[in-house]
């Protein structure tokens, strides 16, 4: 199957090219799950459920990362994202005690517009995505492995790595400044 057809296939929906979707093979389950849980998150009005759906989605993504020969990223994804960040969120939700679901959404003009614009954005991104990798340019390189990754991180990306420390420092100081206990009252 030519890559360019793929976009069309997906865009046109399953009705006509139902068979081709099966071309994804075993991949269709995590993909469907991922998309599905994001959709569920969009539709659900309970914050806690939202967070849990996202955990699911991110976990699926972790799986996909693994399929893309990025095991370390996959691990980080599951550990940091699904594990840490989302838990933090859940914790926050608990803390705010936001148990009652958000009031039912009225279908406003804004939501409608957002949906339309989102669709257009998707179209644009899809076009870009489809054209991003010219057919035949796929040249699977040798996966570097974890060691290679580490080397890369501390040579080539050392500067960026150090900057992340700044970033985290900023985030911590910021969080402390904003939400920390106030001295003297």
């Amino acid at each position: 199957m030519r890559d360019s057809d793929f976009g069309l296939t997906l865009a046109a929906g399953k009705t006509k090219y139902r068979g081709k979707f099966h071309g994804l093979g075993y991949l269709r389950y995590p993909v469907a799950l991922c998309i599905g849980s994001v959709l569920a998150m969009i539709l659900s009005r309970n914050q806690a459920h939202n967070a849990l759906f996202l955990v699911l989605a991110f976990s699926c993504l972790g799986g996909l990362f693994g399929l893309l020969d990025a095991p370390f990223a996959a691990a980080a994804q599951v550990l940091v994202y699904a594990g840490a960040i989302m838990v933090l969120f859940l914790f926050a939700i608990m803390m705010f005690n936001l148990r009652e679901p958000a009031p039912r959404e009225r279908r406003t003009l804004r939501t409608f517009l957002a949906a339309i614009l989102g669709l257009v954005l998707f179209a644009e991104l899809a076009i870009a995505a489809v054209r991003a990798i010219a057919p035949g340019s796929v040249s699977p390189g040798e996966p570097d492995g974890l060691a290679g990754l580490g080397r890369l991180l501390f040579t080539d990306y050392l500067y960026a790595f150090e900057i992340t420390s700044l970033l985290i420092l900023a985030a911590l100081v910021g969080a402390l400044a904003l939400a920390g206990k106030k001295e003297g009252g």
């Binding site: 995505a129 900057i163 700044l166 420092l169 900023a170 402390l176």
Partner: protein, 485 residues
Amino acid sequence: MGFPPPIPPSVLALAPLLALVAGALLVLLLEAFLKRKDGELPAFVAVFALLASAFFTVVSWNVGNSGVYLHGRLLVDNLALLVTGVLVLAGIAVILMSLKYAAHQDMNLGQLCGLLLLAVAGAMIMVSSSDGLVVFLGLEVLSVASYAMSGLKRQDRASSEAAAKYFLMGSFAGAFFVFGLALVFGTSGSLDLTAGLSAGASLSAFPAAGAVGLGLILTALFFKIAVAPFHMWAPDVYEGAPTPVTVFLTIVPKAAGLAVLLRVLLPLLSGETAAAAVFTPALSVAAVLTMFAGNLAALRQKSVKRMLAYSSIAHAGYLLVAIVAGDAPSLVFYLLVYLFMNGGAFAVLVAMSGRGFERASLGDFAGLGRRHPGLAASLSIFLLSLAGFPPTAGFLAKFYVFGAAVREGHILLAVAAVLASLIAVAYYLKIIVVMYMQDAEAAAAFDRDDPALFLVIFLGLLGVLQLGLWPGNALSLIRAAFNAF
């Protein structure tokens, strides 16, 4: 350059940043361990760090230190150094403005200084790299620190609302950047924002994915610079943030964003490339939209602070004109001038505030010309400069930017720009009208014992007049940096 540099170039290249980071850490430590929380020591340390950073920047400049370090992640060139200079100056101004303000508004000066240093460091990282990832990280450092700074008036609903809005919109925009970066990475196989794409741009057809990727990145930068229609967060945030932080927000992220924009777009826009044919009209429209959105919305504002917020949006539009014209010297000069006039104007606003209150509505300025002639005259000069009246620096800055646009053939853009600045004149003058031509209902006394703030105002005046009348040194410095004209 007669002496061999005592520091290796790569260290020197990092030195301005390191100075800031060291300063930030020191400030934070002091803040954490010092008993007296209302002391001004952190501020002095921060200023010192900024001065050190400036010193290293100057040294870097003097030794002609330019090049690529750290595996191409750190790029030191004249643009980086010049903009770094602007950033550092802005940082110093903000700190000096905050000394009394922080105490009056119940803000933690130490945290502010620490965050400010980190933010400046982030901006510095942004401007001294052409690597997409580093730029993104710098942007995030800047952003995260900025979010926090916006909310530093913790008791103030407006301040935290500003922080929340800024954060939400900022992270939204940040995601665009990352996705764009992914596309660029995919198309060019490199994270470098300039090299890969300019190679692609030289092809007859501009690669669509690369274009979209770049477009997404630019979108995020536009957001940071507050280009219409990505600007809508800006008035609210500028208004809600503590005034010195507003000064910071109107100058530093803009300067950093524009520098990156310039770095990315300059290779694309020069010449008759396909990219130029796409980007030039798009950017022109964005510039026009920004100028008019900012200026028109400012017309009806009742709060001077918000008016100046809109004005800073409009100025982003003028700055974008310099980008469209592809004229780096005029952009940098404008940034420098903008630092002085905008900083000065907000500094006067800071001077109007007192313990636990701020006076920012137009009515508060009534009769200021009589009560505080010096303050009113200073604000007038800043406003006239913002409006672009000669012989202030604001005029010269516009002169160079619009002139560059015309030189590059964007006459209609220049016409739109001058018409927009005509609208701007209307509201700048409105403030002057209130100060000089209306009488005050109630003359409220306020604290005039803030030497640091008045130093800032004085330096602002000096800059606005000096750069308006004898900008020779600054201009030739900038021009030499870009080998233009």
